[in-house]
């Protein structure tokens, strides 16, 4: 069991990297959706 910390570290790294990436993509997706919505409203206003 002396090698257990290496196994633990490897699986922790895998999950940490995947979760960080999912979080980063989610953040970018929300920002893009917000920008799109704001632009649509602004365009609607400009056309009036």
């Amino acid at each position: 069991m002396e090698r257990f910390p290496y196994l633990f570290a490897a699986y922790t790294v895998v999950w940490a990297v995947i979760f960080l990436y999912v979080w980063s993509v989610d953040r970018r997706a929300r920002r893009a959706e917000r920008e799109l919505e704001e632009l649509r409203k602004a365009l609607e206003r400009d056309r009036r």
């Binding site: 290496y6 895998v14 990297v17 997706a29």
Partner: protein
């Protein structure tokens, strides 16, 4: 319209497929598969290290294929697929480069060695890191997309070299999956099944992340188009 519907369906279904597949893989890795005789418990890193490598290779092959199609047809859809796949491929390539040294330390006694396969893998990582930097800081012009497509195609040449490097140059990295030794390879059926299930789980996670990233890139392109339209309306 059909593409959007497929995108919605995929982003709804894929997490429900990837999640159970990952749970099944973890169950097999920690509760079913036998402990390897020589390396002990740490050998279980193999079941995330190898699927990460396969998934990264798949991701970069998709970059190569989509880039070829982009150069041929000029469609922004292929450009977005290449860009999204490069990013997701980099996530898995990073996992290979992080789990490898953690596994190497107790087995080889060193975190890193300039073995041919390790060196080629870090070259692959650097090529696609350059690709992503070019996409991030090069601007949104078509010319940058074309340069990036060429880089994406050239980068994939490194993958077959990584695969054959263990045989060609005989470094420290073991050739488990390409072993010609009748006593080598994965002989235990549970080990083979676990590797396949883990590979399937990683493939589904890749597909899900790719679809999510593609949607973000499509929305970003729509934002850019609407901004241009608004500038025209204002002027």
């Amino acid at each position: 319209m059909l593409a959007k519907r497929l995108e919605n369906l995929a982003s709804l279904l894929l997490p429900w497929l990837a999640g159970p597949a990952m749970v099944a893989a973890l169950y097999l890795i920690f509760l079913v598969v036998p402990t390897e005789r020589d390396q002990g418990i740490v050998q279980r890193i193999f079941y995330v290290h190898v699927p990460s490598a396969w998934t990264a290779f798949l991701g970069f092959f998709v970059v190569c294929g989509a880039s070829l199609l982009y150069l041929w047809r000029g469609s922004p859809v292929f450009d977005r697929i290449a860009r999204a796949s490069a990013e997701v491929g980099m996530v898995f390539c990073t996992l290979v480069l992080l789990t490898g040294p953690i596994w190497a330390r107790p087995i080889w006694g060193a975190w890193w060695t300039w073995d041919p396969r390790l060196t080629m893998t870090i070259i692959l990582w650097t090529i696609y890191a350059s690709y992503l930097l070019l996409r991030a800081f090069g601007g949104g012009e078509d010319q940058i997309s074309r340069y990036a497509a060429v880089l994406g195609i050239v980068g994939a040449i490194d993958i077959p070299l990584i695969v054959v490097s263990v045989r060609l140059w005989r470094g420290m990295h073991p050739a488990v999956m390409m072993s010609r030794d009748p006593q080598g390879g994965l002989r235990d059926p549970f080990m083979r099944v676990t590797l396949l299930v883990a590979a399937l789980a990683f493939l589904l996670v890749y597909a899900w992340l790719l679809v999510v990233r593609l949607r973000t890139l499509r929305v970003a392109d729509e934002v850019a188009e609407l901004s241009r339209e608004r500038d025209l309306v204002v002027s």
